[in-house]
Symmetry: C5
Subunit: 268 residues, 5 copies
């Protein structure tokens, strides 16, 4: 962890990552509810919303689209990922080197998934080491997608599991840890306390009602979390800018959920 | 993906790859229906047809024959491949480095097979990363042979599977993705949409009637695909130039299948 | 082994390492008995006690907190470690390179765990080789956490096992070997004799009564050991400085356990 | 494949490799029928016969003896090999680097075994790639010992199998492929046709009658093969020079088998 | 193999290696019969005996003690080794690089164990390759501990097995091969003949009567062997110099066993 208050990936110390690595992780089926979301251009447009501090995409999408958006979007290059056609132990291919992300893609941060608890934990941690140390050479903040899995993980959203996942972010040198929501603000307080200065992002998960969604985000912020990484719950919507308006209120403006819902309501 | 409109591997944005890596992948048995096809010189001669934008061969064949054809043929160095004597999980040996392809063979593009869904997916994706990043240093377009396989793949020509395979081409940074034909123009439209700016080639498969074959190629073009990669269906013929004449009409001249068949008919 | 009498990691040839790698090895549950121990700042403060010659932490914690303590604390970068979510054969991920520890973290010593007897012994020894040789380039003392495990190890605190573990420290080139307490001063004499000039540290283990704890430390010193590496038994206390006062007496001042207990008693 | 007409490993475009890697592959038992064959000096002497274009030995034998023979013998450094004490899947250790062969041993060609069809095919092909590309840097011809093995290979001397093995020599960039004898001149014609410009050597195999042996060599030459790689069938003889005289007639002088037998008969 | 007649590891072309890697291979239990043997200083003192041409120790012991003995002892750095706590397939960790042995330890020769016939044979041979080639750069003689093991090895002291082990020393480029005693001078003659110019050392094994021990050494010398590598049979004795006196007679002075026993008898 290093001070990243001034890094483009933050706004007033808070973070909203728009995640769009679903084309590799899940495939086209994720775009079905909102077909235009299959088009990266559509999602890059969404990412120009001021609430979004960073857009997380893989190498190929960045290579093809970021040149047209580099003034308006901050790129978080997601370095590893694997298709869901693969039925083996959880693992993740390193699809982009830090050098390539920094020098060729123009990334302003890098992201890397680790699965503490899986058979390949040792290998994933060691890959993370190389990424983290190389990213420091380029002064790129490092975001760890930290998802505990494997035999020993009975409840992957339990407070203890999430707190451990976030702590590993701190221990291994991540600037930001993206973890699942542990169910309550109180649990999230434990999580952010364990992460120390490593910023904690709630992973957006699937679509719920707007109120429920914003309340969970609000509880993250109130628990000392830095914000949210969200994908489908934004770009599977017909009007993604409205929910981003609401998230902007909650994350950066200390607004209540009601105020945020008002701000994002369709103007008459 | 990067703009490759001017690359030798394309003609008016379209692509016809003549594939001739069967000597490694299948062995001499593939040459039986047309014995002279065992002779690479014969196939290099076929590849001088203007419809062919690129000839895909392995290192050894390129090394031995390309020096005599470099003015008339554009070389796509196929970098990996494995014999079919091997009974293990699908995998593919990297038989040629990008450096060697670029500096010693004079390749103008490189090709690499990945099998999303197999046990070695992670390793194949990581090998692809190295190839892709090194190819960028040499400004060589990268063609991904993308064939989903493994336990989770129930139907390897289903629209969803092919669309995922093509999307992985985009996500991982391929300029061109070679995929199986998903059965209809409508399905192919989904596939090309998922691939975004990554050009999509239909993989030629086995011999069918000329009409059926040209109709499937036509449907690829009409669906926004870039063209075709074809092997046996060309060089196992007695007169491969005729079918190339027909393909030229369909791929580059927006001709109908009937017009193409006429163009390729033996002149009286 | 090389002369390290003048290295910051020692004081009068003795050593007291405060170990704080529990966030990775065990997770937040270790901080429950003393919640403020979850905060690395709290433990760095404890480590400013003059009895502590070195604070052992992982990369991320060092990166975030050591800049504020580098005048008052000597950093021992613990280079490998693994979560206890992982159920496989004992192994340990290399989470920090020696180069990074030396150049970026400002470490004054490095620590590395090996598990002689496990399936991965060969690999761990080879990783240790690389660490040891690289550390020599930076003149950093090398501390080996040496814990025999695996099928052949029936009693992991038996004299023979611990003596072997310590001897491996000497054989493989560690300056300091951290081993379990073999149960008696006599056994510890064998252990230190087998280690030759490699300094031997008793691993602190879990909380016992202060008298029992100090007596075991005293017996290590009397047996020719260099001191102690201790974690929870210090920072899980309400007043860790008192036990450090007592340890200071025993380790550096040749005090008796009674004298040490007096010195550390609350002043009226 | 590259033009090697002028390489020391050939004579008039033909090749006779004397193979002497039996000390590693089979051990001393192979020397029993002719005890002096255990002495490399004896075999180097045999290799000075003008019929022999190259002597294939491993690193250690080359290092010890080649300095005394470099004016009279052309060295083919056999780079990989494994003892027959090993009961696992066919594989072969790389015992000599190309750099060492070229710079320290003074080799004029390198040899490498691959076993298409075995579990380690992918790894062996990749090792071959590195060898082949490095050998090109030193302008050293590459000889592939190509022996199909594994579950799918029912008949390892069948025409189809041998033809595939030879074709892989061409596909992977070998200048010369050493394969088993497929049983007839007709089958050998298929084999050499599939190998294109890659020269094909028949692997000598065990002792037969001189007439049978020379007839098979003659059929290789008549089928367009380049010659022979032979070991025991030469140096297990009491008078190896006589059979080399005969081979010289058959391989380089287009002699009939009868003429060759006459030429090699003991002079009265 | 290269001429090493002038190397410090030999005396008049003969070799007596004092081996002291037992601390890693067997652990402290080996020192029990003569407790002071646990102290490397004691063994370094023994190694100053003029009969000893080289002392074989691991990295850590060399690092700690060799600086005080470099004028009186010649260091053979034993580069690999593994604890006997490990129950897996025979294998050996590379604990010291050649570079480190040459540049930091001041070694005058390097030693490396291979186990022909084990599952890891291929890997061990390849590690040996790297060691051998790197050692050549530093002009360091290479000693191979060559012990055939594994399923196919029914009798690990049979003549055929030992002869194969010694031959592998020659084939792979070792200057000296350390093998088990094959039981008789006649068998040893086969062994040394198979090794060619690679010097053969008998591995000392366990304690026997002095006469029996010297007779076996004598038979090695008479069979053309270079000498002996011996450990416990020297340093587990109360007066190791006496047996070294006797060995000196047998190995370097062509003395009979009776003469040697006289020379080494306690002076009245």
């Amino acid at each position: 962890m290093r001070p990243i208050a001034d890094a483009p990936v933050t706004r007033d110390g808070k973070v909203l990552v728009l995640a769009y690595d679903h084309g590799i992780e899940h495939g086209p089926v994720d775009f079905d509810p909102q077909p235009e979301s299959a088009d990266p251009e559509h999602v890059f447009d969404v990412a120009t919303h001021p609430a979004v501090t960073s857009l997380a995409v893989g190498k190929g999408v960045a290579e093809a689209y970021y040149p047209s958006y580099e003034d308006d979007v901050s790129l978080l290059a997601k370095l590893n990922g694997t298709s869901n056609l693969w039925m083996g132990e959880p693992d993740s291919a390193v699809n982009c080197s830090v050098e390539y992300a920094a020098e060729e893609l123009g990334a302003e941060a890098v992201g890397f998934t680790v699965y503490p608890g899986v058979n390949g934990e040792v290998e994933m941690f060691e890959e993370f080491r190389e990424v983290q140390e190389k990213a420091r050479e380029y002064d790129l903040p490092v975001v760890m997608w930290s998802y505990a899995r494997g035999q020993a993980v009975k409840n992957d959203t339990g407070e203890e599991t999430i707190a451990y996942a976030a702590r590993l972010g701190l221990e291994l040198g991540a600037d930001i840890a993206k973890v699942k929501y542990p169910g309550s603000q109180e649990a999230m307080e434990t999580v952010t306390r364990m992460a120390g200065p490593t910023k904690v992002l709630m992973s957006g998960g699937s679509k719920t009602s707007d109120r429920e969604f914003l309340e969970s985000v609000k509880s993250v912020i109130d628990a000392g979390g830095a914000g949210l990484a969200v994908g489908r719950n934004v770009w599977q919507r017909e009007n993604p800018r409205r929910i981003l308006d609401a998230l902007e209120e909650v994350i950066y403006e200390e607004a209540s959920v009601d105020e945020a819902l008002d701000a994002a309501a369709p103007k008459p």
